[in-house]
Amino acid sequence: MKSTHRLLRGYSLDPAFSTKLDTATINEITYRVRWESLKRGPRGDYFEVIDYDPASNCYYDPVDLDEKHILAQNGLDPSEGNPAFHQQFVYTIAMTTLEHFEQSLGRKVIWSPRKYDPKYPERNLYVDTIRLYPHAFRDANAYYDPEKKAILFGYFEAVVNPRGASPQGINLPGGVIFTCLSPDIIAHEVTHALLDSIHPRFIENTNPDVPAFHEGFADIVALLQRFTITPLVEHQIAQTRGNLEEYSFLGELATQFGNALQGNRGALRSAIGKFDEKGKWQRYIPDPNDYKTIFEPHARGAILVATIFDAFIRLYNSTTADLLRIATNGTGILQPGAIHPDLVKRLANAACEIAERLLHICIRALDYCPPHDITFGDYLRALITADLDSSPNDMNGYRLALIEAFRSWGIFPDRVNTLSVESLQWSKPDTLTQPEQKLLTYIARFLKDQVRTIVEISTMEVNNRKEIFQQSGEVQRLLHEQLLSKRNGRFTEHQWSSFLKKIGLTNQVQHVHYEDEIITTEKVPKLEVHKVRPVYRVGREGKLVEQVLVTLTQTYVIENGTLQGAKFRGGATLILNMSRNFDVEYIIYKNITSRHRFVDQMDYQQGKTASFVAFNDSMYEEADGFAAINFAHLHFH
């Protein structure tokens, strides 16, 4: 018989919760990780753990998870003092996170490629695995390094009670804190790598929402993932008598890390509320002003996290209202004392199910985002559109909960008149002229044949991601060729131009006005085909969605004047429906000729707006204001 899962023991919260009486029993759980053959490390198809500790100038022996004693006991005992367990644990959480992504996205994850030779930017190199270094440096930090395709975890010593004034929270004073033992931190960092694999241009700091989105999204995944751990949720629901809006460590991220760093009882980040200055816990009240005034990436990202969590609470409350009525003879008001264990189970099941679905909706929405320059408003539209596609009925009100939550936090998309599902859904292309329609049909027909090969290899069970990568690359190249040659045959310059405009692109030299300058780009920006990927996914109503994602973009670089070196991009994500003859369903674009977006981006990157945030407090100005997001500086706190 073939194994489908590998059982691995690990922490559900941070290690320190194992030393607290009320959480010790639920902090050690058994994770079910998809089975794959593993080498020492562990090293699998997606991740490789290499436990080299340069600061200590040593290696730690790699764990062999296939060793029979280890297999027989569901992996190693959770232990802070055994580096082999650390290796097992980063692997466990990394794989758990990856599985949620593959399940939601309906395709195999292919890591963002590495640029091999700067002279040939098209020549991307396939990256097989993300490398995990559990003990990479001595600092309160952990980060994804997009150049190294690696996640580096740090470790550090907890503060010894500074001048005897503040409590230690849950830490041993002077004890070692390992970031690689916090499931939140691992999930957060792995999510950065996963997000980078889907949207490599989301690391370009083009508006205040972009770095905040990377941070917020990574926290959302870490948070919702935790709510899928049933024993944990049961414990919490029993304690709060079913009320998830009360203070609970479930809504906090990286508690131990936060405690160690600040020498007090505070989690690093919290989605539900926080302790005020007097040490009293307060639930966050949605404040639409925050989105207008908070720009530091983590704090702004936290708005997105709170918004999604808000939707979660709304769904939980509405889904469980009937259970509470049944349990209370219709009053909905619980008797004092503990609630019935059966009710705990039912409530916990509801919460876990909602968390998992919401998590998948959030991940799936990534495919419905523009290829760069994301805003929270875009993300709301992506959430709604993605969910409409996969679950058209929405019996349980997921979409309404999301809309309500975004509204109460004051996050509104650009150019949308009402906050209804219909107007939030990305618009379908209905203004195409006949020749344009023809071109798209032609592309569709062309893609149909090409994509079939990818589909065939994609559905194989073996690890052939490299083959998929190469095939997709080949199809991208061909599509690029086709687009250019087709244009020559069939379109007049004017028609071609008007078609490109509809997908956010241009075939003209750009003249942009910025302050007193008029800047002319030297060349017509080159057309780039970034992605051609077929996807197969199942929505929560069991509906199968078969689509092809195509990304087209253009970039121009400003060659002179005060903005010299600045880059500006435009382009679109096209979503084609395979089951409807490859019709283009959505064109999600950012217009390269948009003047207001250009001015906004330049103002932002030049630090002229209040929203500009320098990522560190050094005297070195951010290189030129156009730098990519530097995760090492940004992370983890």
Partner: protein, 468 residues
Amino acid sequence: MTRNPAAVTVTVKMFDVGELGDCFWLQFATRDQESNVLIDCGSFRNSEKSKTRLNKIAGYIRNQLNDRQLDVVVGTHQHNDHVSGFVHCEKIFTGMVDQTWLSWLDNPRDQLARSIKKDQLNLVDTVSKLQSRLPATSSAGQILKDVLGFYAASGEDEDGGGPELPARGIEILKQLPEKEVRYLSPGDILPLPGMPTDAVRVYVLGPPRNQTLLFDKDPKKTETYDPNLAFANINAKRFLSALENNTSDGSDRAEKQFPFSSTHKKSEAKAHPEMVALYKREPWRMIEDDWMQTASRLALYLDSYTNNSSLVLAFELVKSGKILLFAADAQTGNWLSWDDIKWKGVTGTFSTEALLRNTVLYKVGHHGSHNATLVKALESMEHSELVAMIPVCKTDPNITKKNGWKMPAKNLYKRLKEKTGYRVLRMDDGYADGCDPQKNKGKTKWKSLPYQPRFDEKNFFVEYTVTG
């Protein structure tokens, strides 16, 4: 307070110390009285050239005073570029100082200050040890060298006086006057010695001393003195012990058991060969130097920490209400704390906001770096006579080198010019570009002011006079 305070004019000389550094001489005068104030005297390096220049400047001040004393000398914070002159020109200053003003952080009788100073000195010490261990060419080594320059502790600089030099500067400042040193805390309001008591008021804005801020839960507010410093210290020591372990035989016992017991630690020779080979196979993925970035983070932390400990003073000419704001090198945390200051003995509409609104001379923070002027505060400076003075030197090697410091920061510089009506003075150039009344007629608004700037290249200063 009397109803009719005397009118005061203030002549401010910004001395060009030839490199990055601060030295300001303020002469307050009523019709019949005069008061002389010196705010800082230092330059970044301690070379012969630096010393010669500082001596010329100190000598000039002494000559001009002609046996009168400096009524007040202010040492804003313990960085070389602000206090080295008191060491190098100790002889000249001897007998010349009536009173010294320092921040509460320099008060040896203040327990909180003492423990903070101790932590800070430890950190400087550890960071300078780090620097001697790190390769000078590494980016971390480079940053460490830069930061330690402020403490004259950069190991590479043969003229470096060591981290005790700026500390000695403060000590000398304490010994120079016969009168007792005054240690100032935010919220203090003082009359200016040598002036009629009601003519000039001095407001102390920073460094913050808010006991509750010390252990505040919100990390965003704790850019002041807090457990972060303790944490930085622990972190720095662990880092240093790792460096020592890497460069020697690693005899430190604590290090041997950190973070795991030594039985787990395998040297390259004893490690699993497959893993070693794997690690080394792809050089682009190796992490040999990444852990050293910790050093630069620590150093930058130390740097902004010390800058935040700056003594910030606002001089009010009571009759006109005009303010001269001297922000030393205060960075964000210091500025942010001003809003919460509880002023002693004031009533009515007085506020920090009003101080900013009435500012007519702003000594720009930290040589014009991007994080030493709070945007909100600069926007509040709306007085029609606003002038800005930036002690910056464009030929300083820290600025001219590749990837050098951005001083003044581009956007701040531009905004300063807009806010002042193109009346920005620099230590090195005199008029900032765009601010020369000859070349930039119509653009600069110097003409609307009663006094025009004066330049004295022989005696290395830019002078500007405020009337009020």
